[in-house]
């Protein structure tokens, strides 16, 4: 099983949707939320995803397809 630390950035339209619940139902992925920030217009969720590499890749593609930006949790470091 692989683990990934990711940050999800939700557009306004998806802030009220149970996206993480659906992710765990559709794919064999265990999400573990560590931190979140939500404003009126955007949501930011930092979490650990655990699963087989193939499932993780499919799950992340699913999130991207919904319009959620999936980034490494630590961001880009200059």
């Amino acid at each position: 099983m692989a683990k990934r630390m990711v940050m999800l950035i939700f557009p306004e339209t998806l802030v009220t949707e149970p996206v993480i619940y659906r992710l765990s139902r559709k794919f064999k992925i265990i999400p573990n939320v560590r931190r979140a920030r939500v404003t009126e217009k955007v949501g930011e969720l930092t979490l650990e995803l655990e699963g087989e590499e193939e499932e993780l890749a499919k799950g992340i593609a699913y999130l991207n397809g919904l319009g959620i930006k999936v980034q490494p949790a630590a961001g880009e470091r200059g």
């Binding site: 955007v42 880009e76 200059g78």
Partner: protein, 420 residues
């Protein structure tokens, strides 16, 4: 003097030992060095700093190393130029340029962070240093690794400016050109950092590395006669520099080293083609939305800035603001700085000058208040950016007549030599 207490999570404040760690295992927040300021109060004085070497190491008590600096002993104490001509051009009363185009040894502010990071890496007994880089960091890591006798690996996007590639290769590192953007380079390096026991200066050594940027702020204050300016404009890529300059000034205030209080407003400068932090500042949103970079300012082309949130917080806490600069404005900014002060900055400097100009025009930086512009890298590294807009003034045959004719045809007037 025991001054480093350890590391602390910037999000949940959980403490960690002073080890090569960078992420909180609980909340995934970034770790930061935590100091025992009380032990420094009274022992760290203006006089003790002034008695130190003319380099960043005069502030060693506020840097996270245990022993002597191992590399970069001449880094820092770059000029703070009183920019009278630039001030006139911008319609300002008092402008200074903190000129890290001449930093030692690789001509950018990155020498500050790398000197600290590699010294710390040696204290942790690493034998290989590495980095993901947009260019300046690559130059600096390769140079300092050469000085320290360390093996180095530098990962860069394959499309970087030739000046930065050559300026890295000359120090004989293992340069890995990655066919991808900086985002992809960064992801790859995170995976490599997990696999090999290397000191990635901007990944697992990042808490120590980032502290080196505080010296940019310390020097500004000391060179202004132990006072903080009213405004500072800082360019941003990952967003760390502005947070550390702010932290440095607040530390000086806390330790009683400043005349008066630190009432500096920190302003951020980013390119229009990659300005996610400035966009967040303008929208008053503490969530920084990633972007795909498209700008000539490649040293600032970080679309998902690691310290974006903290940069936002520092700017807002100080009462500052931010603005973008178009590619055209960036080139004009570089030319303005060079043409008024004789300082050739890289594209990031053009971003800083152009954003400052906008902020002055908006009244966010009042014309009668003091302003410091942070110029972070040398223009000789990014000549491609300005080359198309520059041309030779006159081309002539090697005769006086040809010269006089060319002068006349271009309408250039000079005073003839005094016959007496």
């Amino acid at each position: 003097m025991v001054k480093v207490k350890g590391l602390k999570c910037r999000e949940c404040s959980r403490p960690y030992p002073p080890a090569p760690l960078h992420v909180c295992e609980f909340c995934f927040g970034p770790l930061e060095v935590d100091y025992d300021y009380e032990s420094l109060r009274g022992t760290l004085t203006r006089r003790s700093i002034e008695a130190g070497p003319p380099s960043i190491w005069r502030y060693r008590a506020l840097l996270p190393i245990d022993g002597e600096p191992a590399v970069g002993v001449h880094c820092g104490m770059t000029p703070l130029v009183k920019a009278r001509n630039l001030a006139r051009a911008l319609g300002m009363r008092e402008v200074y340029v903190k000129n890290d185009t001449v930093n030692h040894p690789s001509f950018s502010f990155k020498d500050r962070v790398v000197a600290v990071a590699i010294t710390r890496a040696l204290e942790f007994d690493f034998t290989v240093v590495a980095c993901a880089s947009t260019g300046n960091l690559a130059n600096s890591v390769a140079a300092h690794a050469a000085e320290g006798g360390l093996q180095s690996f530098v990962f860069m996007p394959a499309d970087l400016e030739q000046g930065k590639v050559i300026g890295t290769l000359i120090y004989a590192p293992n340069l890995v050109a990655v066919e991808g953007n900086y985002d992809e380079v960064n992801r790859l390096c995170s995976e490599i950092a997990d696999k090999y026991r290397w000191a990635f200066v901007n990944i697992n050594i990042r808490p120590y590395y980032a502290e080196g940027s505080k010296t940019f702020g310390y020097e500004i204050a000391e060179q202004l006669g132990w006072r903080a300016p009213r405004h500072i404009v800082v360019p941003a890529a990952g967003g760390s520099l502005v947070t550390k300059i702010w932290k440095g000034l607040k530390e000086f205030e806390r330790l009683g080293l400043l005349d008066g209080r630190c009432e500096t407003r920190m302003h951020l400068a980013q390119a229009e083609g990659c300005g996610p932090i400035v966009t967040a500042i303008k929208e008053n949103s503490e969530i920084v939305k990633p972007v795909k970079p498209k700008t000539i300012a490649k040293s600032l082309a970080i679309g998902n800035p690691a310290d974006g949130y903290y940069a936002y917080k520092a700017v807002k806490a100080s009462g500052g603001h931010g603005d973008h600069a178009s590619d055209e404005e960036i080139v004009e900014g570089m030319k303005l700085l060079a043409g008024t002060e004789g300082i050739f900055s890289e594209t990031a400097g053009g971003v800083t000058v152009a954003a400052a100009k906008r902020l002055i025009e908006q009244g966010r930086i009042p014309r009668d208040e003091s302003l410091v512009l942070c110029i972070t890298g040398n223009g000789l590294k990014t000549q491609e950016a300005v080359a198309p807009s520059l041309r030779v003034s006159l081309q002539i045959k090697p005769t006086l007549r040809s010269f006089d004719e060319a002068m006349a045809s271009h309408g250039i007037e000079v005073s003839p030599k005094d016959p007496s």
